[in-house]
């Protein structure tokens, strides 16, 4: 019997560098911040990160297939407008949420068809759908917020299932569901294979295109569902409410250790990435750093994460070629 490979213990999850970064940030902000390390504030971070997490989870899968979805923010805003409008017109919460989810799903499928069936490069395809979603939202609302959405949604949003704020509960459920799908269903393997070795999947007789489109559809669906949280939070539907959120989602995924190549991805890492960004923003806010600099710092963070990703990959191949 021989031993397997270079000395590595078998494992299913890795701790990305972001985990350590997160700890460092938590400590730093607790020391230097003012009122950072309080329970209400921590819960606040959780609430504010919940929408981002709903987007970042499917974004992880999309990036694992070497793709990208730039339209999530715009689709989320549009879904929020749809949700708010239906509520304003007296429809039930269930119907409104279904409609919002439907809008998101439609855009997700459109993205999938563009990328998979037509062969359009993902960033251009989703840039285009971004414009379309954005345009629809602006036209429908004339740039104004949709208010007067009734009591059903705020009530739900303020509720505390199991003692947790609703948004955190919803985010947790999403986490569990995505984690379940990735670990316990075939889809989980297929997503990594799409990025890592597509031919292997084709040879195995799998409906590769369907899975690939499905990944984008999932992104759209989650964007639609996230509208529930966003609209609940700002108590209105606004056409540009979530613009740029896809950037945070991409940042979270990259910071969390998912790479753009070969199907290397981790949902746990994305969770840490989301929390890192949430903590970063919250802490910087605490230190009265302007929100625009926060955005800039996230940009730098992404680039740094990409560089580290590249360096690690280079180190790995150099080592294995010894």
């Amino acid at each position: 019997m021989d031993s397997g490979g270079p000395a590595q213990a078998g494992r299913d999850t890795r701790i990305p560098g972001a985990g350590y970064l997160l700890v460092v940030l938590l400590i730093a902000f607790s020391i230097f911040g003012d009122g950072f390390a309080t329970l209400p504030n921590i819960l606040n971070v959780g609430v504010q990160s919940s929408v981002l997490l709903l987007l970042a989870l499917p974004m992880t899968l999309i990036i694992m297939t070497e793709g990208l979805d730039l339209s999530m923010g715009a689709v989320l805003s549009l879904a929020g407008v749809v949700l708010a409008t239906l509520l304003m017109n007296g429809n039930s919460l269930a119907a409104a949420v279904a409609a919002a989810a439907g809008v998101g799903l439609a855009f997700g499928i459109a993205n999938g068809l563009l990328v998979v069936t037509l062969g359009v490069p993902p960033f251009v395809a989703t840039l285009g759908t971004l414009g379309i979603a954005q345009g629809l939202a602006l036209v429908a609302t004339g740039g104004q917020s949709v208010v007067g959405i009734g009591d059903a949604l705020p009530a739900l949003y303020e509720s505390r299932p199991l003692g947790l704020p609703f948004s955190i509960a919803m985010a947790a459920v999403a986490c569990l569901m995505f984690g379940f799908v990735v670990r316990h269903t075939k889809l989980g393997s297929y997503v990594s294979a799409l990025g890592g070795n597509r031919e292997a999947l084709v040879l195995a007789g799998v409906h590769v295109n369907l899975v690939h489109i499905g990944v984008y559809a999932g992104g759209g669906l989650m964007s639609g569902l996230a509208a529930l949280l966003l609209t609940g939070r700002i108590n209105a539907g606004h056409p540009t409410a979530a613009i740029g959120l896809e950037f945070d989602a991409i940042a979270a995924v990259i910071v969390g250790g998912t790479s753009f190549e070969r199907g290397d991805g981790t949902l746990a890492g994305t969770l840490i990435g989301v929390l890192t960004i949430g903590v970063l923003k919250n802490g910087l806010n605490d230190l009265s750093v302007s929100s625009s600099l926060q955005v800039a710092s996230i940009g730098v963070l992404v680039i740094a994460a990409l560089v580290i990703d590249r360096a690690v990959a280079a180190g790995r191949t150099a080592g294995s070629r010894a």
Binding site: S3, P6, R11, K186, S189, G196, A200, R262, G263, R316
Partner: protein
Amino acid sequence: MRGISKAFPGVRALDEVSLTVDAGTVHVLLGQNGAGKSTLMRILCGAHHPDAGAILIDGRPVRLHSPADARRLGVAVIFQEFSLVPYLNLAQNIFLGRELSGRIPGTIDRRKMHAEARRLLDGLGLDADTRTPAHELGIAQQQVVEIAKALSQNARILVMDEPTAALSDREIARLFERVRALKRDGVGIVYISHRLQEIFEIGDRITVLRDGKNVGSFAVEHLENPENPANLENLIRLMVGRQVTAAYRERFCEAPGETLLEVRDLRTGTGVRAAALDVKAGEIVGLAGLVGAGRSELARAIFGADRVVSGTVRMTGAPLRRGPTGAVRAGVALVPENRKTEGLALMRSVQDNVLTAGLRTLFPTGWYRAARAARAVADVISRLRIATPSPARLVRFLSGGNQQKVVVGKWLTAGSRFFIFDEPTRGIDVGAKAELYGVIGGLVADGAAVLMISSELPEVVAVCDRAYVMRDKTIVGELSRTELTEENILRMAMHHG
């Protein structure tokens, strides 16, 4: 397989080939590049359909319409490029597409999968944790996982294509242990390789293919001691045979000129070593060897396309600056093996392609003048007799031979003096081949030097003034004009010292 024939446009790949593989035996398939081994195996695994002939499994004729059919009937192929997904673990890879279902519909039973995978890997003697991501395993272990994958599909016929190409001696020994275990389990194995030592060690039968025909099939035990050179000679003679070739050269180089290229003590980033290699003006020097010997890698390192770890490459006495830019500036040219992906921009015109390498030579100040460019291009087109209705024609519409001429033309405008050709006549029909030999001959007649990599032995013998032979990533010998025969080349290329 009985009486399998297959023809592709322009070439008869297989001609009434028959092959019998018994359960629990290793049947070695031997032959030069292009003899038909790959085609035969692709037919067996369902990727191609034979024009004539039948395939019988367990005595019953079968129809293989697709790789899925072949897999279902128990045929599995292990290629050189592995089909594992890097970031999935071993169990996921083994069961890709055929995951074991759990109780809740739609879920997979991970525990059962890992247990099954564990059982398969134990049977093959690999104790890597089934949770390890595939990319963390070494090549030898990945191969074992591939075998496990094949076994999990109840493969009864396993085809292994050059399995030992990337393995160390120790890993090869382990692989053979596993192969023997498979034999005991009744699996029939088709083993494609050119490493004689291994063939004699693991093989039960040998079939030699040449030019698409089965020219001989022996039980290994009928052959005597492998050390006996007579057996090696027999096999080589079967592989080589008497072939008609379009290759010829009017006049060989009597008095070579100055040494243009000089390589000393070279070690490349991919592990290729070359102690000494010289090419003089007026010479066509061959670089022979079998697939995997490292010839292309050596050429790329000389050209600067791959990393050089140590050693020197000199052109007319001066060491080359790093990278392809430095090499081209010094007058070195590379006509790559994959002309479509590495030598040409298919979407651009003949004119644009011909000018690519010569822009700095033709226009040293950086200002492009259309008239001068057009003249240079017309000059090249006529000199090489490139068949194209106009210089504006997109290169992708040209025939293979003419595409190759465009690549050569590219270097003419660059004023290169040393040309490296990597399999220059591959995929080119007979008539164009002759033209190409004329072109190469013309180059050296004008004082250039050529290093030609070729797997077609008749071509090497007929065209080159002398040749270096490579094996296992080193240069193992040099053959002068008088020594240059196909048998000698093969002997040097195959002998596992």
